[in-house]
Symmetry: C2
Subunit: 202 residues, 2 copies
DNA sequence: GGATAGCAGAGAGTGCCGCTATCCATTCAG
DNA sequence: CTGAATGGATAGCGGCACTCTCTGCTATCC
């Protein structure tokens, strides 16, 4: 309960309707918002500040859904302090070019591309400069996944539900994907590698 | 540099070889280990304690690769304090049954299945009880991705390289997947939804 | 009508985590 | 011989997510 008061103070939850100077009333919408906050923080692992940003993006009224998705993506992808490897940036640009994407002049422009470049930079720093080869097959698989995401979003009836499904689906979807990927790895490991060593033994 | 001393103290890096009481020698292996630690912490977002667990799993010599992957997966999937919804547990079990997996008697047995159940629980708590429908298409896409991961692992020559590629590929792969998924979403949003609203306007 | 229990709001305090700064003894370079 | 640097250990710091407490006020029970 003190946590709720803290969230109120932090502006994550709208203030309740004061029925008297010391009595506020909270309706279902507040509860829904509270659960959303917990979902973003618990499963999404977002900081309080990031949650606030996401909520702000959700609550901004006068934006197209496409722009809102972009704003939410920026909010949930806080940039890390990793310094970018120029070669990793080239990897990203090459990937974009291969997909016939619009030019990606500045990778640091968007938090998402920055995150991608940062990940590839770190991969390079530990000697995995071939990691970029995974981008294309990843996109291949993600096309199926993104289509499922879109279908799921399309089930929603109201605009508010669509927006929430975008946020929830993106963040919870990340965690679900992570877990299922682990399961897929374990299965592949069991089937292909088996319990014995693969490649050069020991 | 003080950070390295801290990592040494925390047992994340092995002590250097003392050439004299105040002079230790660190070789390439130390540097490689240090970069791995930073990779796990920076991109993987792991806590120091989790990094230590992962390193311990890596360094355990007498285990099959399959077991080692399992240990690493447990280490990098720290369970959240979310209480599990029984219906979400059923979702997970149904998913396992559909895949003809071995029975999953206890979802909390593994951190990975626990993470999956936790994510679905939180989805249910925010009203998305249909989220489990995404599990099958997610697995569909992830089969492609896991195959790419396996191919990447198979490129490694030594057993140590394989183990490191498993760790790095899993964690950095998560981040890369996240980023590319965002990009795929943005592309779908641009192509399908466009800049106008979809479904019931406003 | 008076005691009491309860809530809103706000500031200060707490615990943990990931460093960072300081200290001392040693020791190596010039 | 002197000064800068290193290893080892201890203490401190800053940020974050709460949590505690204190102050007014009020609604209610007796």
């Amino acid at each position: 309960m003190p946590t709720i008061k803290y969230y109120l103070r932090e502006g994550l939850l709208p203030a309740g309707v004061l029925t008297s100077p010391n009595q506020a009333h909270y309706d279902d919408e507040h509860l829904r918002r509270l659960r959303l906050v917990r979902a973003l923080a618990d499963v999404g692992g977002l900081s309080i500040a990031s949650v606030r940003e996401v909520l702000a993006a959700i609550d901004t009224r006068d934006e197209s859904l496409h722009n809102k998705l972009g704003a939410v993506q920026e909010a949930i992808s806080q940039p890390s302090a990793v310094e970018l490897d120029p070669l990793a940036i080239e990897d990203v640009q090459g990937f974009f070019a291969r997909q016939g994407e619009t030019e990606c002049a500045d990778v640091t422009e968007s938090n998402v591309t920055h995150m991608l470049a940062a990940a590839l930079s770190v991969a390079r720093s530990v000697g995995h400069d071939q990691f970029r080869d995974l981008l294309d097959p990843y996109l291949e698989g993600l096309k199926i996944i993104a289509q499922a995401d879109l279908d799921y979003i399309a089930r929603q009836s109201t605009r508010d539900d669509i927006i929430e499904a975008m946020v929830v689906g993106t963040l919870i979807g990340d965690t679900v994907l992570k877990a299922v990927r682990r399961l897929a790895h374990a299965q592949v490991s069991r089937d292909v590698i088996g319990d014995g060593p693969v490649g050069p033994a020991s």
